[in-house]
């Protein structure tokens, strides 16, 4: 498995994907507190002739901006990069080349998931600490516990997202099919989120919790069901992806 992960890492380095992801994570980590700090002043300068009352920025604005970027831009970039990890290898027939060497198909899928998860967790942590560092400089009263707790929620959420990309990529025969499956599942999850009884068990609920914890404070009790169900669904997606690929016919 380590050898397969080594190849994934090598691919990310050689194809410059790694440097692109690192740059994006660092950019949002630095820009979020800076944007939070300068945005009120910026709004004042452009609103000539109109009186706009903007409350003074706080560390909360910095992390609200940071988590917004994580849940939108970085989420999108990661999905775009990871969604083809299995589907494109099937399409290009490189998957056949590896599995006909006797590599266990389930281990091959697991190696992709593990690499993607480790990469995302590492970069999220680095990005968080950079953001925290700049926030402390710009807002000396920055609180660590709520912002780090929100990061933990994000890590659970992104674990689910990565496992879903693995399942979609395993089920689709090319990047378009895989993307379609992923979007479909995501739409269904968002629709399910309107049912109050299902909401506590829905992983997509985690992204809104992150911002709530920044604004209103950490409430682990309210998140237990969502975290546990998200982790269960992550494992289920991963196992389904592994089993599906193991059973699948390849070109």
């Amino acid at each position: 498995m380590i050898k397969l992960m080594k190849k994934e890492f090598y691919e990310f380095v050689k194809t410059k994907k790694l440097i692109a992801i690192i740059a994006i994570f660092i950019f949002f980590a630095i820009s979020s507190p800076i944007m939070a700090k300068i945005m009120p002043e910026f709004i004042k300068t452009i609103s000539i002739g109109i009186t706009i009352i903007v409350p003074p920025p706080t560390w909360k604005d910095a992390f609200l901006q940071f988590f917004k970027n994580l849940n939108q831009m970085i989420f999108l970039i990661l999905v775009l990069i990871f969604i083809g990890s299995i589907a494109e290898e099937k399409n290009r027939r490189t998957a056949s080349l590896v599995v006909t060497r006797g590599v266990d198909r389930r281990v091959w899928v697991l190696s992709k998931f593990t690499f993607q998860l480790l990469l995302t967790i590492s970069l999220s942590l680095i990005s968080f600490f950079i953001c925290y560092y700049y926030s402390v400089i710009l807002f000396p009263d920055t609180e660590f516990f709520p912002s780090f707790s929100s990061l933990l929620l994000f890590l659970v959420y992104i674990t689910f997202v990565i496992s879903l990309t693995i399942l979609s990529s395993s089920a689709g025969n090319n990047i378009i099919q895989a993307g379609g499956i992923f979007i479909l599942v995501f739409i269904v999850l968002n629709i399910l989120n309107i049912f109050p009884s299902l909401k506590p068990y829905n992983p997509v609920n985690l992204s809104s919790m992150e911002t709530q914890w920044i604004v209103f404070g950490v409430d682990w009790n309210s998140a237990v069901k969502t975290v546990i169900s998200s982790l269960i669904l992550s494992i289920a997606s991963l196992v389904c992806g592994m089993l599906y690929f193991n059973y699948q016919e390849l070109e």
Binding site: R92, T100, V103, L250
Partner: protein, 301 residues
């Protein structure tokens, strides 16, 4: 030992028949040529043998292991696909290092260098993305050979090579005779005739014939003699009376191809006629059927 044995192996894609009731045996150490027109089921057979697809019915045993029960035999198999695709970001050496890694080969550097030299890619430093189809085919063969497999499954291994490259690769494959078993699918009949010990001809998913090349040739031999004389009309007039003559076909200006029921008496009688009629004999040749003749005869039945 039988390296590949299929028992009633069939594969359907929906209602479409790709392979039907294939019963095939490939003994150890031989080069087996698997022939058939496009869409005959050659690649489907290979996919089934490599566990890339599941049979609809029947099974196959590869190196003694039932393909339905596991995939561990794949560690002892080298495979070259018909259209080799690799990770384009690797160089040839890096790619072979990766293959060595996942195949569990320790300290592979020396072996990689040797194989790259053997297939003529030793001086290629660029990424695989920039390789021609012929170079990819050579690299495909290198990765198939790297783990020193007992069985080599090659799908059209020479289709993209120039004549020089084809000769080199065929010589290399030929050198495995008696050491490795080679299952070799191709369209190029001259390649098969040159290196294979045994062949199977497939058409529309059914195996039409499977035997040693020599036995197949004997089975399909039609006694034919090519004769060139200065006056073909006179010869036709005289040989028409011989009871062994089945058909006479004109070829070029002075040539005749005679198909006969029994070649021995004809080899005595016709030279006698030529002498008696004062004809000048320019050419006398007993025609052997080529694999191409047999292939066309078998597949056009």
């Amino acid at each position: 030992m039988t390296v590949i044995k299929t028992e009633g192996l069939s594969k359907y894609f929906g209602k479409k028949k790709a392979l039907e009731d294939l019963n095939l045996e490939v003994p150890e150490g031989i080069i087996f040529g698997y022939l058939g027109p496009n869409g005959a089921g050659k690649t489907t057979t290979i996919r089934l043998l490599l566990n890339l697809a599941r049979p609809t019915s029947g099974t196959a045993y590869v190196l003694g292991e039932d393909i339905r029960n596991g995939r561990s035999y794949l560690k002892k198999v080298g495979f070259l696909p018909d259209v080799p695709n690799f990770y384009n970001f690797f160089t040839a050496r890096e790619f072979l290092s990766f293959i060595a890694d996942i195949s569990g080969i320790d300290n592979p550097e020396k072996k990689i260098g040797k194989i790259l030299e053997l297939i003529g890619l030793k001086n290629e430093k660029g990424r695989i993305g920039g390789y021609s189809r012929g170079m990819r085919q050579r690299l495909g063969l290198a990765q198939a050979l790297l783990p020193d497999p007992e069985l080599l499954i090659l799908d059209e291994p020479t289709s993209s090579l120039d004549p020089q490259g084809r000769k080199e690769i065929l010589d290399l494959i030929c050198s495995f005779k008696g050491k490795k078993t080679v299952f070799f699918s191709t369209h190029i009949l001259s390649d098969v005739e040159r290196i294979c010990d045994r062949i199977g001809i497939l058409k529309e998913g059914r195996l039409l014939i499977e035997d040693n090349i020599e036995d197949i040739k004997k089975r399909y031999t039609r006694h034919r003699i090519l004769i060139e004389v200065d006056d073909t009309e006179k010869l036709i007039e005289k040989v028409n009376g011989l009871s062994q003559i089945k058909s006479i076909e004109r070829r070029n200006n002075n040539g005749l191809v005679l198909e006969v029921s029994d070649i021995l008496p004809v080899q005595i009688d016709i030279p006698k006629i030529i002498v008696e009629e004062n004809l000048i004999l320019k050419k006398w040749e007993i025609l052997e059927p080529s694999l191409e003749d047999i292939f066309l005869e078998v597949t056009n039945k």
